[in-house]
């Protein structure tokens, strides 16, 4: 972990939230986004989740043995180092706060709009609240979590954020 934080201008700073009938797209504050690599032999994930909750972060399942931990506020370097020390040796943290951006898509038509971009079945019966997966939206790889019945959180690489935003704005045009 670096001693110094790079200060970046927000990737979607200039974008006002897209608000249409039954769908809205809004950028989340670029707070904290940690990539967790967990050794499953080192204890259960419950303790891990408790430690992260204490730091004000929420877990998003990523893949086998890996999670994202997200939060709206940026953790101070000392807090991050302390968290990293707490989680070892069960998990390693890679700070991705500078590298990934969160976008919230919500509203009754959110699943309809997202379905235009991905092959993943977003029906609530098979993609319940809390479920997450990584998939392609058009040509852009993004991580999608259902955070509410009609709300999704997309995590996308910073460099692709604007492009994905433009696509979401276009895909939701029919509901304007």
């Amino acid at each position: 972990m670096s001693e110094f934080r790079v200060t970046l201008s927000p990737a979607l700073g200039g974008r006002a939230a897209v608000s249409r009938k039954g769908i809205s797209v809004e950028a989340q504050p670029e707070g904290t986004l940690l990539h967790l690599l967990v050794d499953p032999t080192m204890g259960d994930a419950v303790r891990l989740a408790a430690d992260l909750m204490a730091a004000g972060l929420e877990l998003r399942p990523l893949t086998t043995g890996q999670w994202f931990a997200v939060g709206d506020t940026a953790l101070a370097h000392a807090d991050l180092a302390a968290l990293s020390a707490t989680l070892k040796p069960q998990a390693d943290i890679v700070d991705q706060s500078h590298g990934r951006v969160r976008i919230i898509v919500k509203g009754k038509m959110a699943a309809r709009v997202l379905s235009k971009g991905t092959a993943v079945d977003l029906d609530i019966a098979v993609f319940p609240v809390g479920h997450a997966t990584t998939t392609l939206f058009g040509h852009i790889s993004a991580h999608v979590t259902r955070i509410g019945e009609d709300a999704f959180e997309l995590i996308v690489l910073r460099g692709f954020a604007e492009s994905l935003w433009d696509e979401l704005a276009q895909m939701s045009l029919e509901f304007s």
């Binding site: 893949t63 086998t64 092959a119 993943v120 997966t133 990584t134 998939t135 392609l136 790889s141």
Partner: protein, 90 residues
């Protein structure tokens, strides 16, 4: 090529999310003869029918998978995580 691959972690996904590495072959011993290594690195059978390959779910779970598919009918018989290897027979 098959257009839908059932990833053991993510479920059915379009092939665009994957990267194909190539035939899933058993790696020769380190001290195997040069012709055995040449065969392993360069020579492929290109069969008509069942074929076992390494696929990477690049835009999904990012796990390496072993996909057993039919090169003629595009049918996929099996798809499992490469970490559960041992079943590779090619």
């Amino acid at each position: 090529m098959a257009s839908l691959v059932t990833c053991p972690h993510c479920g059915k996904r379009p092939k665009e999310e994957f990267t194909v590495k190539g035939a899933a072959l058993t790696r020769p011993a380190v001290d195997a003869a040069q012709d055995v290594w040449f065969d392993y690195v360069y020579l492929r059978d290109n069969p008509r029918g069942a074929y076992q390959e390494y696929w990477h779910h690049t835009s999904g779970c990012r796990r390496w998978l072993v996909v057993t598919r039919d090169t003629a009918t595009h049918e996929i018989f099996q798809c499992h995580d490469a970490a559960e290897r041992g079943e590779v027979t090619a």
